[in-house]
């Protein structure tokens, strides 16, 4: 059997007219995923270039929901786009050395683009379901490859700009830019193919968005979370997985608040005797799910006043969990002083479930869920 050539692909559907149009939507999805991904990256960094804002309270919920949904929407678009350009893989390389070199460079850049795009969508999709069948560090690698993907995409647009302009400027059924052998009409029009890719994207979004859009919970049959859980909020890491069950339930539990030489320790009963506040704030996870809850507890600022800590200081929040990359997190000063930032003791009127962080957990506006430290054992003002 001989190796196929691009001349063997005869369908008029495999055309730049289709590739450019699907490409525009794919570019929008990748752009959105890149920008929202950068925002999420900033939210994780302790001291980002621009301080991460505490308002709107639902900011991270929306940007991270968009991040995951734009990536999900991109999957059908990428598959259709790769289908339309598949013959290019078998195009015979040019004979002349100069053209051969240019052709080789372009193919290399496309290889990088396709590899990075498939990598980002695959690792992102698997991360939403907490499936990690790989040996690399997910967050750092997904971030690095995002720059490779967006860079290769911008380079690809630069290389293809004349083709894109001609394709988008003309009618979609116009065959001016088609390969010479692409002459056999497909079972549907090109316009219908582009629309079917968009329809598939829309179905993919509807089928998964219920994890973050409560109104779609019943529709999203493929959603990773239905929104159920103790007090109506899902959990990401259980007390058992974090190995804190015994320490969290121990009658000897004390919260330690420290500022310089001032140290104070409070039992859960002591915390309950302090002034209680109720706030409505979402838990918004990097995996794209989110849920809003009514949290009741003590303002972190009130606790800092007990040890005489001045305003504007960063706070080190330590969990009872013995290990894990987010065992201790830093809460920037403007979050610590925010009246909405609580050390929550209750959720939805009930005492906090152990999987939600009993005896107490941090809940602050506009932060990734993993930084909303559960099973808090120590608050230390960084001096």
């Amino acid at each position: 059997m001989r190796i196929p050539s691009d001349r063997d692909f005869t369908s008029t559907l495999r055309s730049p007219a289709v590739a450019a149009r699907v490409g525009v939507w794919l570019g929008i999805c990748f752009g959105l995923a890149f920008v929202t991904g950068l925002i999420s990256h900033e939210a994780y960094v302790v001291h980002p270039v621009i301080p991460f804002p505490a308002r709107p309270t639902w900011g991270y919920r929306v940007t991270q929901g968009l991040h995951v949904l734009s990536g999900t929407a991109a999957i059908p678009l990428l598959l259709v786009k790769l289908w339309t350009v598949f013959p290019k893989l078998f195009a015979r390389p040019p004979q002349r050395l100069r053209q051969l070199a240019v052709d080789g460079l372009e193919r290399a850049s496309i290889a990088v683009l396709v590899a990075a795009a498939v990598f980002q969508l695959t690792t992102g999709l698997l991360n939403t379901t907490q499936w990690y069948p790989w040996g690399f560090h997910f967050r750092a690698t997904h971030y690095a490859v995002a720059w490779v993907a967006i860079g290769a995409l911008v380079l690809h647009i630069a290389v293809k700009l004349p083709v894109i302009r001609a394709a988008l400027g003309g009618d979609i059924e116009d065959s001016a830019q088609d390969r010479p052998t692409a002459t056999i009409a497909g079972p549907l029009t090109r316009r219908a193919l582009v629309r079917s890719a968009l329809l598939a994207s829309g179905v993919a979004v509807l089928a998964t968005a219920g994890s973050t859009v409560p109104a779609l919970r019943k529709v999203s049959v493929l959603g990773v979370r239905s929104g159920g859980g103790p007090a109506g909020i899902p959990i990401n890491k259980s007390a058992k997985a974090a190995d804190v069950v015994a320490t969290a339930l121990s009658p000897d539990y004390r919260l330690v608040i420290a500022y310089d030489a001032h140290e104070m320790s409070l039992s859960r009963a002591d915390l309950e005797r302090l002034e209680q506040h109720t706030v409505e704030l979402p838990i918004a996870c990097v995996e794209g799910w989110s849920a809003s809850g009514h949290w009741t507890g003590v303002r972190v600022r009130d606790l800092l006043d007990l040890v005489g800590a001045p305003a504007g200081r960063d706070l080190r929040v330590e969990s009872l969990q013995p290990r894990g990359p987010f065992r201790a997190t830093t809460l920037p000063g403007h979050f610590a002083d925010d009246p909405l930032t609580l050390l929550a003791l209750r959720l939805g009127g009930e005492p906090l479930a152990i999987d939600h962080g009993y005896p107490c957990r941090l809940i602050a506006p506009d932060r990734p869920g993993v930084l909303q430290t559960k099973w808090v054992g120590r608050l230390e003002v960084i001096t």
Binding site: V118, L126, V154, V159, L161, S196, A207, R225, S238
Partner: protein, 144 residues
């Protein structure tokens, strides 16, 4: 346009190079696994997914022995690509015994409902277009 293209091209190269440097910063072990997955993704698409799609289409058109209605292709694009997205939840690979709030749906049933809906809608569209054609012999040039 040349100026725009050169600027865009350089911007793209710079961003990709920045990403590559970030990747190198994560150490050799991380790099080797990442490159394996990067190459693996291309290989799985170009050597498995794309040829299988062509083979499947070839078999379907041979078995049915005639031109398939466009609506069937639309249905196949929707169901095929959404099924790819469903693989991680259908396999429940990330499920954990200690966390019942994760992967807490019957995904096989959900997928089956989605597949049924796609088939029913596709069949309805095909039937409607056949009826339309049957009652109107000799379609005008503008009709599809």
């Amino acid at each position: 346009m040349t100026g725009t293209r050169i600027t865009l091209g350089l911007l793209g190269l710079a961003a990709a190079a920045y990403g590559a440097l970030q990747l190198l910063d994560l150490g050799l072990d991380n790099l080797v696994v990442t490159v394996t997955w990067l190459a693996g993704g291309v290989l799985v698409h170009d050597a498995v997914v794309a040829p299988l799609t062509i083979a499947l289409w070839f078999v379907v058109s041979r078995v049915t022995g005639r031109r398939l209605p466009g609506a069937v292709v639309v249905g196949a694009v929707v169901l095929g690509t959404v099924t790819v997205i469903a693989v991680p939840v259908l396999g429940r690979f990330g499920a954990r015994a200690d966390n019942p709030t994760l992967l807490d749906r019957n995904y096989v049933l959900g997928w089956a409902m989605l597949a049924t809906l796609t088939v029913v809608v596709t069949a309805a569209v095909v039937a409607a277009s056949r009826r339309g054609r049957g009652g109107d012999r000799g379609p005008g040039p503008g009709r599809r």
